[in-house]
């Protein structure tokens, strides 16, 4: 069974979703929790069985799918993807457990389970087309969630979300096909296997074009400035569960893909585009933080803050050294936990007041103290306070990029300032001051259902801030092999310098060993 | 010389006839002019030694097709002229002239080829009809049979479409109406 655990992980939720059609409306929530719980336990088992000392792929699975065109069903996890998979299952469980939605809950839970399949699939896929299949299919459940359970502008938001990301990924598909063609030219065989592609050393000009093609798909998903405008709408209109999954997992697909595809496939192009991308990342960080500060809707603040944080992740990824990339992978998880929790929290107040405008609130801290506390903890985590999960990632990302550019890091570092500005001012507007609005006076504090989701997240946010090692270590090992691979493949002199050579280091696997 | 005179004469006649066909507003003129044009075309066939075609042309076109059209005209009561309020007639002529110029530009260039061989050569000593028959029933047997199928299709189609059963539309009728209709509605087999 352990040999096929990834297949199980991917298709168990889908199968359960199909069977879910039979379950009655009243018991569907329990069913959903059970399924998501089993899935989560399976993913924990995956972690348990995972050997953190091995940097390469584990639990590899292979089955022919369209061998005539080099497409195979290839799965595997390494330290980079392992925890994002766990995060996916974790958030699905939490999302379903703390679901407060009443309308057509059966459809919603079935959709969520399908979404879970696609999320796990994206992170476990080792074949570009299989990856693409899950990547693209994940749009559909999300489209439905936003479009059917969202706010007044839900249709606009969902269609925008869908078409925008769809467009980007189609360009990426062309890139993938070109890559496969290049592989075909080099070896005489079709292959979409990522690990096979890793072996290729592409000429620099090809790298540049392919990098751009992949970049477009990933950048829209992340979303990077200036492709980010779908996100505020999507978040603004999506129901709580939609925002949570979107922020926690779906956005990570983009950054994950950068680490999985762009970096190891195109080391020279990565170095070539490092500075422009860093500049975009910095614009994301500062500009969206400013936009977040101007928001009136608290959910939009969190939405824009997501973009801002994704900027830091991108920056860390393009640090192209172990510290930065590990940091950015860690920050993906951290941001997933924190922003997911923040969206859940916003959902709590939205359920009670059916508004998300901060001007409607004020003084919530005295009416809903427990809520304010958890919100405060998560806000501080979002701001990147040490000993919270976000700090580790942000610190490492910035630290990593500092190696590449002092000035840019200094500018990007303003993230910690501007982040504090919008978060604190939002918190102040919503929670501090006197209760002015009559409707707020009788608000009930956070209830058990909601705590079910939030308590574990709070624990994780602090636990991993204090003791990130169990996660950071496997990440580090896998990232080291990626960086070494990049160094070995790099052709330009600049890239050789920019990407550190780890081969002298003890315990580091070289490219051949790892893959 | 005779050939040239005949060519130019019939060319002029055909062109005039067909021009009348497309330009006149009287359906009857058009029909008559076309019938005449068809006959003049058969003259070209005779000129070119395609006797069989010439005969077929006269029989089929002037005989069958024209009769059909004439029948149609009577049916449609073409005394009520369709007002041809030609929208943008200049476009039509510009397009026409352009097409003519382009095609003619190409056609004035002689065909240069050393590789054209007659696959089914016209033999001088054999009558055209015989030769045609020979080819038609060997090489073109299948197309010939298929043409028969096509004519069958056309026949069935024509009959079905013009038949009485088309007067009432089951597609548009409500189910109850059809139900009531069934007793009185004699489903004629195929309408022939």
């Amino acid at each position: 069974m352990i040999d096929h655990i990834l297949t199980l992980l991917i298709f168990f939720p889908a199968l359960a979703a199909m069977l879910g059609f039979v379950v009655t409306k009243d018991s569907i929530r329990a069913y959903g929790i059970a399924v998501a719980g089993i899935e989560f336990l399976l993913s924990l088992w995956l972690w348990y069985a995972y050997d953190p000392m091995v940097s390469g792929m584990q639990f590899m699975e292979a089955a022919p799918l369209i061998p005539a065109f080099g497409i195979n069903y290839l799965l595997g996890v390494d330290g980079i993807s392992l925890f994002i998979i766990i995060l996916s299952t974790f958030f699905t469980l939490i999302g379903i457990a703390s679901l407060t939605e009443k309308r057509r809950i059966k459809d919603l839970i079935i959709t969520l389970l399908f979404l879970e399949m696609t999320m796990v699939g994206v992170f476990a896929a080792l074949d570009a087309i299989v990856f693409y299949v899950f990547w693209e299919f994940s749009l559909v459940p999300m489209l439905y969630i936003i479009g059917a359970w969202g706010g007044p502008l839900r249709i606009y938001a969902s269609v925008k979300f869908f078409l925008y990301t769809f467009t980007g990924s189609l360009v990426m598909l062309v890139g993938m096909l070109f890559m496969a063609y290049f592989y075909y030219q080099a070896t005489g065989q079709w292959s979409f296997a990522i690990l096979e592609w890793y072996r290729l050393i592409l000429p620099e000009n090809f790298q540049l074009w392919l990098f751009v093609a992949f970049f477009l798909g990933f950048a829209i998903k992340v979303p990077m400035f200036p492709f980010h405008t779908w996100l505020p709408y999507a978040h603004g209109q999506a129901p709580t569960i939609g925002s949570v999954i979107l922020a926690a997992i779906l956005l990570k697909m983009g950054t994950y893909a950068f680490v999985r595809f762009s970096l190891p496939l195109f080391p020279d192009a990565s170095v070539f585009f490092m500075i422009p991308i860093a500049v975009i990342a910095i614009i994301m960080i500062i500009y969206t933080a400013m936009v977040a500060y101007a928001q009136e809707d608290i959910k939009q603040v969190v939405a824009y803050s997501s973009i801002s944080h994704m900027g830091v992740i991108i920056l860390g990824t393009f640090a192209l050294n172990v510290e930065g990339v590990s940091g950015s992978v860690f920050l993906m998880l951290a941001h997933g936990v924190v922003s997911g929790a923040l969206f859940l929290l916003v959902g709590v107040i939205y359920d009670r007041r059916h508004t998300k405008l901060m001007s409607e609130f004020g003084g919530l801290a005295s009416v809903m103290p427990r809520y304010a506390t958890i919100f405060g903890i998560m806000m501080m985590a979002s701001v990147g306070l040490p000993l919270t999960i976000n700090f580790v990632g942000e610190f490492l990302s910035l630290l990593g990029f500092y190696k590449q550019s002092h000035m840019l890091t200094l500018t990007a570092g303003t993230a910690i300032i501007v982040g504090a500005i919008y978060m604190l001012s939002a918190y102040k507007k919503a929670f501090f001051g006197n209760v002015t609005n009559e409707e707020n006076k009788k608000l009930k504090d956070i209830n058990k259902t909601e705590l079910v989701g939030l308590i574990p997240l709070t624990i994780v946010a602090i636990w991993l801030g204090v003791y990130p090692k169990p996660i950071l270590e496997p990440i580090n090992n896998s990232v080291e092999s990626v960086i070494q691979l990049m160094h070995d493949k790099a052709q330009s002199a600049e890239a050789k310098v920019r990407i550190p050579d780890l081969s002298g280091k003890n315990g580091t696997n070289t490219m051949q060993e790892a893959y | 010389m005779f050939e040239a005179i005949a060519f130019y004469l019939f060319a002029a006649l055909t062109i005039v006839m067909f021009t009348i066909t497309v330009m006149t507003s009287q359906a009857l003129y058009a029909l008559t002019a076309m019938a005449a044009g068809m006959i003049f075309i058969s003259a070209f066939f005779f000129l070119l030694g395609a006797d069989f075609l010439g005969v077929i042309q006269i029989i089929v076109y002037t005989g069958a097709v024209m009769a059909l059209y004439a029948f149609g005209m009577m049916f449609f009561d073409t005394t009520r002229n369709v007002v041809e309020k030609g929208t943008n007639p200049q476009i039509v002529f510009v397009l026409g002239v352009l097409a003519a110029v382009m095609v003619v530009t190409i056609f004035v260039a002689p065909i240069v080829s050393n590789n054209i061989q007659a696959l089914y050569p016209i033999q001088e000593n054999i009558g055209n009809s015989q030769a045609v028959g020979m080819v038609l029933f060997t090489k073109y047997l299948v197309p010939f049979e298929l043409a028969a199928v096509m004519l069958l299709v056309a026949m069935i189609g024509g009959i079905v479409l013009a038949g009485k059963k088309m007067d009432k539309s089951l597609t548009l009728m409500k189910e109850e109406e059809i139900g009531g209709l069934d007793e009185g509605f004699e489903p004629e087999a195929g309408g022939h």
Partner: protein
Amino acid sequence: MLEPIHVALGSLNIATLAPMLIAVVGALSILIIDLAKGGLHKSLYVMIALLFLLLDLGALVDFGGLFLKNGTILGFFDVMLMDGIAIMSQIIIVAGSMLFIPLALTSKRFHEYDYPEYFALFLFMIAGFQFMVATDNLIMIFIGLETASLALYTLIALHNRSKSFEAAVKYFTMGALAAGFYAFGSMILYAISGSVEMNQIATILAEDHYSNIGYVLLSMAFMIAAFGFKLSMVPFHTWTPDVYEGSSAALAGYMSIVPKIAAFVVAMRLFEFLVHSGVAWLQVILYIGVVVTMTASNIWALVQSDVKRMLAYSSISHAGFVMAAVLIGTTQSNTGLFLYWALFSFTNLGAFTMIWVNRQKNLLPGQSSDHPYEKFSGMVKTMPMGAVMMGLFMLSLAGIPPFGLFWGKMYMIGSAVTSGYTVLALIMALNSAIAGYYYLKLIVFMFMKEPMVGYNQFYFMNASLSLKTIIGIAAVGTIFAVFAVNPLLKVITLFVYNSGY
């Protein structure tokens, strides 16, 4: 005196006629049954037609085996040409027809199905298409094409309401013009080569080194116009939306698949040798044609308010997409063409069947067409399975993996990339994105809007077991396409490659 010709019967390869003859015999037997005893229920004719089509398919599969063993089979003085693409396209034609014909078994009565002739004409039409693809003789192609077209015009009109007459007349008139183009184009080819068989024409032109380039190009201009009409390439596409709207949804779905594959095969035979000969003109023209067709029809599809019309424009766009294969002209792209079309058949058939299923007899109040988007609004609440099915087909049409059409699209784009048409590949990809919008629009209506009061009783009005079965088959074919792609690819590649394309 003319020498009598002795022809050995065996050399004729009469068997090459078998598939078409089966269809013709089927049609004739329907007519005879009707003569013998009128007033029989349509289900009888449906089943007879199905049986004959099954025989037809069996014969084709048999030919497939023969082809793989012996290569291309010629028959009847080389008029009949059973090569790989002929067999494959015929299989698609017959299989598509088999999925189509049960759609006659609606729970409502529509005019055309009261005619046994309808089924006879249908089989004649199939025979026509089969002849059209199984030859490289321009005369034969013309007659096959006309047989099929004339039958098709009649079938459209038999729906018997003014829109279908209008559609049929429009289609017919434009078809007549296109026939003129075809005849003129063939004439020019004949003038410069002295032959009406495409392989000979190709040989002679090559031997001449295309010295009559003007004639060649002019003939191609006429041919592109003629086949542009059949394949509904812009600006010869204008009939498509009207005809689709005017005919019954079932027939519209059929038209989006079968006639086009026949036309594609002829286009492949006709254009590809020129594409390969390095006549840049044709490449440029096809390039422009493909891009304009894809893009323009997509853009027009965006603004449609009727689902069937939208699907009409969408099928124009798909045809443009596939036409790229002819432009690229590699084995991979031609394989992609058939793969795409096979997958497209399932999906599009499903989509049109879904529309057929909720066809009501008369127009809805306040609407001017049969299938406005509003009719589908909130469908997920009243008819969840129906909505899911329709959504599935829309997603597949949009090219969302892992549904059927994605694999076709991927392979087509892949073949473009492989042949150096990177920009074309990008345009194809971006067009898929634009297309996403209108498919999504229907999904939005079905899944995200509230049902319109008074409309919901129209869902599944026309459903019957056989229609549901067809939808089921189409859905299964669409969802599990991924497992069919590999065997399909292998077989198609073998067929295409061995036919020299």
